[in-house]
Symmetry: C2
Subunit: 407 residues, 2 copies
């Protein structure tokens, strides 16, 4: 298994495009609609936000995914189509418009939106631009890049990756694009992510693989503790790799899962690293926990702590905030067994042993915490389970971006 | 019942003081130790953080409160005495030092600390200064003021209040000082608060009243979602008002509870309003909910949302973030019945009806949201229960304060 080029166009039989049609009204005319199409029908699955308030496209997708088959995904940025007038009607019209130019049924198209909540989406701009969107489709590195850019909101870099592996003697590819940045907290997808693969796999098994993957990737990141109304992760598998269709767990499923998980962990980390205003990627690894679930809860609590995030922003080795966040995570443990260290490319430093502060070299700690990628290493002394979660620091820019997002 | 002057010295038979002894080493020599003493033994109770990681003084207080009797509280700012070497030993020594100058048993003294986690507290400075602290005791407005200042960390204003009421024909006084600012989230006390009263009330009933009060005051505020290791709220009742001792629920208990709750709601609001770096007090009132618990959960989720807080900082009427936070609160409800309005001294504006955005006057909304005290009014359409919680916005200053707190 290895990382390759091509994003959502890495897998055979997929085309993508991304253009500006007018949903975003900023003067800089950024791309605002993306289209991903498979030559042939795909086994399809999705996981969506657990927020009680769900954006309109999610209701449409849940209906369109009932038969486990789809061929295309249309997605816009600039408007979330959540809590907005005509929400479901316009989400359906996005699917219908795409279906018409592709030449497929409307319920074989999935739809996603991201952007501001509560405003009517400019459906005329999307319907008016869909032919141009279709005409721009290509199965190239550039086409995936365009689609990745078209779903960005406050993201500063595109999120795109692809993985190649061998299953059943055949070359299988899995690729994805994603957007993240704000309103991100582990509770399902926590963002938009669209994945394509040429692996032959049944609807049931692609769904199982997606659920298993979301749990250990997107559900282990947090930017700001806010679970969005629009979080969606969808996968299309068209089977063109020619492997024997995966219909049950076994070595082939395991190989596919490994590729899918590698892809999604990379995209999830990239999302955390590019959290709104972030200057640091924070990785929190909890070892020696009594269970993976316990390690995950504790690690998530640490990366979600506003105070911990502010300390990392300030390159301040304030490990007490990590211990505090562990303590209110809901997990029980003995604080007097906890060790904490900070690490980065600049080295590692122990700051807490058996729940008590160590006299450590503050200058060395500062040097370590000045790096972009910071790791908080926690040893619980309770068992042998471990888990890693990812977050980012909170900065002046986060406040600036979110203090006046709508205007 | 009415608000009066005097803070913790408003009740008969209480003296207080606050001085600098050297726990804080900043150049500005702020006060760092407070003492509150009753002439006579008191019925006493406390509620403490639910964080698994508890500061050393809390373990000592739990032991000293077992018999429901106490006479004094000694508290320092500048060091949390949490996860620090010799924690419990030094907390005991603080009690013993105070007991020696007062002339009471060490287990009749309660102790609190607030400040940085994980560093050894300067016990020598406290022991060396305790005679001066005792000599400064007085039952004056100025003495309570000094104690209120001595427990401040990043607070910008002192928190102090007192209430007078009539119980059993006698004038009864309840007063308190508190500190808040950071690491504040509803899960018990969420701060330090010391309350004195001359009401005659049994240990059991003062404890019941404190629990009932914490639930609807301190547990309904949030500054940053971080539940501290040190949260403590303690009350001393010396009975010098001369009312018949309250030993059960009834009109006298109800009158005392009313006074205690009025005091604590005021102190809680003051804490939210003075949250670290805050420019706005945010009050979120949820009406028409199916239960008070449901209204409380939803209201807390809204005031705790980092994105909602950033929007208020930017005076941006981004009500979608309120709906989003309601949706991930864990409560179930029908989003299509939800109405949202923003209000302040400058007026009120409806922004969402039946879960959909309204076309509202953005200029008017901006004017309303520019005031210091902002209210988010939510109508659920599910029942007739309501609840109000308090929070604050998140600002550049919050990041600045917490990016480099230790140095």
């Amino acid at each position: 298994m290895n990382f390759i080029e091509g994003g959502v166009c890495a897998a055979k039989g997929f085309k993508a495009s991304g253009i500006h049609v007018g949903v975003k009204t900023h003067a800089d005319w950024k791309k605002d609609v993306a289209l991903i199409v498979s030559e042939t029908p795909c086994a399809a699955a999705g996981v969506f936000t657990r927020n009680v308030v769900k954006a309109a496209p999610i209701h449409i997708d849940l209906a369109h995914l009932k038969n486990g088959v789809a061929r295309a995904i249309i997605a816009n940025s600039g408007n979330a189509n959540a809590c907005a007038p005509h929400g479901e009607e316009y989400a359906e019209r996005m699917c219908a418009a795409a279906a018409k130019v592709i030449g497929c049924a409307a319920d074989d198209v999935l739809v996603s939106s991201t952007g501001v909540i509560g405003q009517t989406i400019n459906i005329d701009a999307i319907e008016g631009g869909v032919q141009n969107l279709y005409d721009a489709l290509a199965s190239t590195v550039e086409a995936s890049d365009a689609a990745a850019h078209a779903i960005m909101t406050t993201d500063t870099v595109k999120k795109e990756a692809a993985v190649g592996t061998i299953i059943d003697g055949k070359a299988v590819h899995v690729g994805g694009i994603a957007k993240g940045s704000g309103m991100i907290h582990p509770n399902m997808g926590t963002m938009l992510c669209f994945i394509t693969t040429d692996c032959a796999i049944s609807s049931d098994m692609i769904r199982a693989a997606l659920l298993e993957t979301a749990e250990i990737s997107f559900n282990r990141i947090s930017v700001d503790g806010d679970t969005s109304t629009n979080d969606s992760c969808m996968v299309l598998a068209n089977g063109l790799a020619g492997n024997a269709e995966i219909t049950e767990r076994g070595p082939a499923y395991a190989a596919f899962l490994e590729a899918l998980q590698a892809l999604c962990v990379k995209l999830a980390r990239d999302m955390a690293s590019d959290g709104e205003g972030a200057k640091h990627l924070i990785t929190c690894t909890v070892r020696g926990a009594k269970s993976v679930k316990s390690a995950e809860t504790i690690s998530k609590s640490v990366i979600s702590s506003t105070l911990m995030k502010a300390a990392i922003f300030g390159a301040d080795a304030n490990w007490g905030r990590a211990l505090c966040a562990m303590g209110y995570s809901g997990e029980t443990f003995n604080p007097e067994k906890v060790n904490v260290a900070f690490a980065s490319a600049a080295g590692e430093i122990d700051v807490c042993a058996n729940g008590r502060g160590l006299n450590f070299d503050e200058d060395k700690a500062k040097t370590i915490l000045t790096e972009h990628d910071i790791e908080i290493r926690i040893a619980m002394g309770e068992g042998d389970a471990s888990c890693t979660c990812w977050g980012c620091d909170i900065t002046y820019d986060y406040i600036k971006i979110n203090g006046d997002y709508r205007t």
